[in-house]
Amino acid sequence: MTALTRRQRRALTLAMRYLIAVAVTLLFLFPVYWLFMISFKTPEEIFHVPPLWLPGQIQFNNYWVLFKDGDVVAILNSLIVAGTSSVIAMVLGTFCAYSLARFNTGGENLAMWIISQRMIPPMAVVFPIFLIYVHFGMVDTFSGLILLYTAFNLPYVIWMMRGYIADIPLELEESALVDGCTRWQVIWKVVFPMARSGLMATAVFTFVFAWNDFLFALILTRTEVITFPVQLTHYMGGQSNFWAKIAAMSVLGTLPIFVAVTIMQRYLVRGISLGAVKG
């Protein structure tokens, strides 16, 4: 075998990498593809044995049923709950983070405590929270769920934003202060714009966490505030046409997330890194 030049070797390696990359991506996305396809299939096609790889034609009946039966309200509920709690968590959390980053409020102890809050297993607190909520009549209310998600996202927001804010050079703020800005103005005009990418990434992740939560939604809602994941489990029980609903609802419920994440893709890596690389 003749020896290859370096350039040839390099080209070959790149080609192989592409091949493997495509194969791996297809493998990972296949289940999603399958789900997608089922959402377009008719019941006969879904239950065809052996399974069909492509639907005969793309029909939206399964989606239509969801709208007709009003199940789509679950998506709306999720939007309201996840959206509101994310906004509140971001606002409160970022201010907290600023205080921690710039003034070291509460020292290392407070920071440690906040981080430890994230490590609390939800299962350990869901029960007492349930009891408390029952006591105050907050079960199956929007505000109850929003409060909960806000609380559970706060540690994450504080942890992430603290890092991002600390990365902003102090000089920028100090020069603004010297120029006569109040602290609020400094935060609004200097810190927020500079931390924009961090804010975006953290906001997206906060939203995703709240959107995808199942446990709390299951326990703390009944009929008024059904969120998307809970609605989805209502279709499970082994009945046939429910598969179609599961698929369609899954796609509907994943779309907002997918859109948000794709737009924020640039900031994604830092968000998922959870500050690990920096810290």
Partner: protein, 299 residues
């Protein structure tokens, strides 16, 4: 000039009350939802509230003693440990391999990464539902693919067959969270000092030597955090199992979270549930503290 522990310079104009004002609302909510329930739970665990009885008198360690006699509880912990022990290394290794694949520049890498992230951002319920569809014995593609390779029709009841349920859960879990490890490791590997790698290349070091002595130590902090976070998440695993098997068959795939749900929300054994919850918190705290202490030593 004062600095915090990370060496960041602190603001000198520390407006006295302002900084407390800023943290107040956040801390308040955290206390309400984080600490308060725990205390409440602790109190309840010393009482004797069950489905039938509401006895709020102090019962001492009644519920805690029961913990040790409860076989199902320890089975649940065992199941949880099993899943964690298998899924975590798998996710780590696969994530590492993926990161290596995409490490060097390649046109279009952004697109691949964006697509691969998808499983991680799905709701775990959706992930579980998806794989339930995939595994379905009659019309799921997995059965067909396996039959094709086996040469004959094979019936696999993934969600019912005791020897298949765990593989099913682990496949679904690894599928969903490997991209998370992948992204983390990609970032960490990208941050390894290029010139060290070049120096090693000139020194003639084999790939394994470079991996062992240069790359691994460099990414250890990130790996540690990843293991901690994923480890904790795996310990609390609930959604995926609910969607795939609901803890079945029987209680074969019942993890600790599922068990807590069962005794808390179907049997309404309030006080006992509180005791179990506390056991879990205590266990986790110990593990986390140990791990963090080891990490500090490493740093």
């Amino acid at each position: 000039m004062s600095t915090d522990t990370y060496g960041h310079r602190l603001s000198v104009f520390s407006d006295r009350n302002f900084k407390y004002l800023m943290v107040a609302p956040g801390i308040l909510i955290l206390l309400l939802v984080g600490i308060f329930p725990l205390i409440y739970s602790l109190v309840v665990s010393f009482q004797n509230i069950t489905m039938t009885d509401v006895d709020t008198s102090f019962q001492g360690l009644l519920n805690y003693k029961q913990l040790f006699r409860d076989a199902r509880l320890w089975q649940a912990l065992g199941h949880t440990a099993l899943i964690t022990a298998i899924a975590l290394p798998l996710e780590l290794v696969l994530g590492f391999l993926l990161a290596q694949l995409f490490l060097e520049r390649m046109p279009g890498r952004q697109i691949f990464v964006a697509l691969l992230v998808l499983p991680t951002v799905l709701s775990p319920i959706v992930a579980g539902a998806t794989w339930r569809l995939m595994f379905d014995v009659r019309f799921g593609p997995i059965g067909q693919i396996v039959s094709y390779f086996a040469g004959e029709p094979v019936t696999l009841l993934w969600t019912v067959n005791p020897s298949l349920v765990y593989p099913a859960i682990i496949i679904c879990e690894v599928w969903q969270w490997t991209p998370f490890m992948f992204l983390l490791l990609l970032a960490a590997l990208s941050n390894v000092d290029q010139s060290q790698l070049e120096a090693a290349e000139l020194d003639g070091a084999s790939y394994w030597r470079v991996l062992r002595q240069i790359i691994m130590p460099a990414i250890k902090p990130v790996v540690a955090i990843a293991v901690l976070i994923r480890g904790l998440d795996l310990f609390r695993i609930f959604d995926i199992i609910w969607a795939l098997t609901e803890g079945g068959p029987g209680s074969m795939t019942e993890t600790i979270s599922l068990y807590t749900y069962v005794i808390g929300f179907t049997q309404f054994d309030t006080s006992y549930t509180a005791a179990v919850a506390f056991l879990v918190v205590a266990l986790l705290s110990v593990i986390v503290t140990l791990v963090l202490r080891r990490m500090e030593l490493v740093k």
